[in-house]
């Protein structure tokens, strides 16, 4: 018992899921998974719709009963507790504000249910924090989407939950407002220091806001880590394609030289550091991000020690900060290249012969037994 109490005291607002899973009849929404969200972190559950991220969040909130496993919040087992007894609050998708109550009463709802004193003062402070003080007596339907969103955050945060759960909170906002609210939420999280668990399908949103991202796919966690780590070292083709964009080139391991694996991709000799290869298999997908590739006209000479691929420009589109090229390589595959607009070579136009080259250390190797197009949104479901 004392151990449990000490655990609870030191653990604070961390969330520990052990072997938690959810099945509906024959359908498995979430395969049993273990997950630890450290106290005070901004944690994102990222994945396409139907990947089980929302179900996972709802199991933490107590809105969904897990089929197996346990949920611990701050060291306390809350698996059997109903939502109204859990030290968590949720910002719902499309907000679920009470339409019959004004903004003030919406925000005061949680405090009133727990019979807290000085409701008025606390609500006013909270409304000031989200800059909605003057709108306190409006009804939710009289507010814009962004304002409603802030009410939803205020309504949850005022209860000082140990963990704040956010279910696609920005999904209903337009792009510009979404960017603004991302920074706003991040600021609030840093200020209050509460653990945030954020569910989103928007990989940019997850990378902007979260300290740690769990990428989910088909009811499983594919990979977990810091945004930069996931981006630079994807462990699966799904993560490589879902988080940003990747070029995946089928290749065969032909040998090794020092710390590098030597590869052959349709006859072209390439290499990748062994440490950046997530598999021992002999058939791999060699991955490289479009912005890591340098594009040069075929007549240019390329320094030794770089991976080289020749090809022909199929398409180029100028998007301001960069130009995006699609290049058909000798092997037949299409490679995307993002080139900063610094010194543009005017010879590189559709139809021009080019050579693509990149530092082998900027590429990664993935097991070729996985679908090469997983997570692109175009894969055969």
């Amino acid at each position: 018992m004392t151990e449990q109490l000490r655990d609870a005291a030191t653990a604070g607002g961390d969330v520990r899921l052990t072997g938690i899973g959810k099945t509906y009849g024959d359908f498995t929404a979430v395969h049993p998974l273990d997950l630890t969200v450290p106290q005070g972190s901004f944690f994102a559950l990222l994945g396409a719709s139907g990947c089980g991220k929302t179900t996972t969040l709802r199991m933490i909130a107590g809105l969904e009963e897990p089929s197996c496993g346990t949920v611990l919040i701050g060291g306390q087992d809350v698996t059997a507790l109903p939502p109204y007894k859990r030290p968590v609050n949720t910002v719902f998708q499309s907000y679920a504000l009470f339409p019959h109550l004004d903004i003030f009463e919406n925000v005061a709802f949680g405090l009133r249910r727990r019979g807290r004193k000085d409701v008025k003062k606390q609500v006013e402070e909270m409304l000031d924090l989200v800059e909605l003080g003057p709108l306190a007596r409006r009804k939710p339907h009289q507010l814009s989407g962004g304002q409603q969103q802030r009410v939803a955050v205020a309504r949850a945060l005022i209860n000082h939950p140990q963990v704040l759960l956010l279910d696609e909170p920005l999904g209903a906002l337009d792009l510009k407002l979404r960017r603004q609210m991302q920074l706003e939420l991040k600021r609030i999280q840093t200020e209050v220091g509460i653990t945030f668990v954020h569910v989103t399908h928007d990989q940019e949103e997850a990378m902007t806001m979260a300290d740690t991202i769990a990428v989910m796919n088909g009811g499983r966690v594919e990979q977990l880590g810091a945004p930069a780590d996931l981006y630079e070292n994807p462990a699966t083709t799904f993560v490589a394609n879902f988080l940003g964009q990747s070029n995946l080139i089928p290749a065969e391991v032909t040998g090794r030289s020092g710390e590098d694996l030597l590869l052959s991709a349709s006859g072209v000799r390439l290499s990748v550091p062994r440490a950046r290869c997530a598999t021992e298999a002999t058939r791999i997908h060699l991955g490289v991000r479009p912005e890591k590739i340098t594009i040069a006209h075929a007549s240019e000479t390329v320094a030794e020690g770089r991976n080289k691929l020749s090809g022909t420009v199929v398409d180029s589109s100028f998007i301001g900060v960069s130009t995006q090229y699609v290049v058909r390589s000798e092997g037949g595959g299409e490679i995307a290249v993002f080139e900063q607009n610094m010194e543009r070579d005017t010879r590189i136009t559709p139809g021009a012969p080019v050579v693509l080259h990149w530092n082998p250390a900027h590429s990664f190797g993935l097991d070729a037994s996985q679908a090469i197009d997983a997570g692109t949104g175009e894969e055969a479901a």
């Binding site: 939502p83 609050n89 949720t90 679920a96 009470f98 709802f109 949850a156």
Partner: protein, 307 residues
């Protein structure tokens, strides 16, 4: 495009008249409804109003004499009919709400899609037979040797209801209880349907949000579900109370002379006594009282914002 100068004006000119025409369209669409109201509501109202102020008899003919005393005489003669009408209707409305709300709630939130339709059809099913037949059926159900009476007798309930005046002589038929039961049964669908409509629109996530904000299920109902469903409660109670106060079939078939409601009085004056002025005056008094009560009720319920 070669005749640009010619083509341009006709394009500009037709635009302004569209607005008035659109307004006119709205009036045209209203016309059948207005005509209906004039022919079947306004004209009979004026006619009845004039009848209520006439004096005379069927043999000698009625003449408009602005005889307002008819109203006072009618009210004096039928005051207990009014009291019974409104109290039976109020009790029946309360019972309808008590029975209808849980049912509407279940249909809206607990039943799956298929059962939802089945239950809704069952709610409407009684309308497939006539009001009269259904009420007559209740006569059999509540009859002295019937299952209800013997069950209530076994449970010694009738002793209690006899004592408080709901029933008398250990029977149900020809007592206030029978009339109230009939009213409740006959007007229940008018309560359930508006309740269901307003409950069905409530986003289930609001329940989750309330639970997430420390409200127990009952508190969620009290603070979220019920207040949001108030427009349905108001609509349902009005749709039940108004026709129930004017009803005379239930009192006639299930009650005795001492359960007569205003509707029975109006019917008697119109069809048996043939005292048309008194019958018309009773109708107007009933209408005025209902209107007054509804106005007060709507003010109290304060649901203008929600509807």
């Amino acid at each position: 495009m070669t005749t640009t100068t010619e083509a341009a004006p006709p394009e500009v000119i037709p635009l302004p008249p569209t607005k008035p025409r659109r307004k006119l369209t709205a009036y045209w669409l209203l016309l059948p409804g207005i005509a209906w109201l004039v022919v079947f509501f306004a004209v009979p109202m004026v006619y009845q109003g004039s009848t209520s102020l006439q004096t005379g008899s069927l043999e000698q003919g009625f003449r408009l004499t602005w005889h307002f005393a008819t109203y006072w005489d009618a009210l004096a003669e039928y005051k207990w009919h009014f009291v019974r009408s409104f109290s039976y209707a109020a009790i029946a409305t309360a019972l309808c709400l008590a029975v209808g709300y849980p049912l509407a709630y279940t249909i809206a939130f607990k039943a799956n899609r298929r059962w939802r339709n089945v239950i809704l059809i069952l709610v409407i099913a009684p309308f497939f037979t006539s009001f009269l037949i259904r009420t007559l059926a209740w006569k059999t159900i509540l009859s002295d040797g019937g299952p209800v009476v013997s069950a209530l007798n076994t449970l010694h309930v009738l002793g209690i209801t006899d004592a408080i005046g709901l029933t008398s002589g250990h029977r149900v038929l020809a007592t206030p209880l029978a009339v109230v039961c009939g009213l409740t049964y006959n007007f229940l669908p008018f309560m359930i349907l508006p309740l269901y409509t307003s409950l069905e629109r409530i986003d289930p996530r609001l329940h989750e949000a309330a639970g997430d904000l420390y409200a127990r299920p009952f508190t969620t109902f009290r603070k979220v579900t019920f207040p949001i469903s108030l427009p349905g409660v108001v609509a349902g109670t009005l749709l039940t109370f108004i026709p129930a106060s004017g009803d005379y079939i239930n009192a006639q078939l299930l009650g005795s002379p001492s359960e007569q409601m205003v509707g029975n009085g109006i019917q008697k004056q119109f069809l048996n006594v043939l005292d048309y002025p008194t019958a018309a005056a009773l109708s107007f008094i009933l209408m005025a009282l209902i209107l007054g009560m509804v106005t007060v009720y709507m003010r109290k319920a304060g649901t203008e914002e929600l509807v």
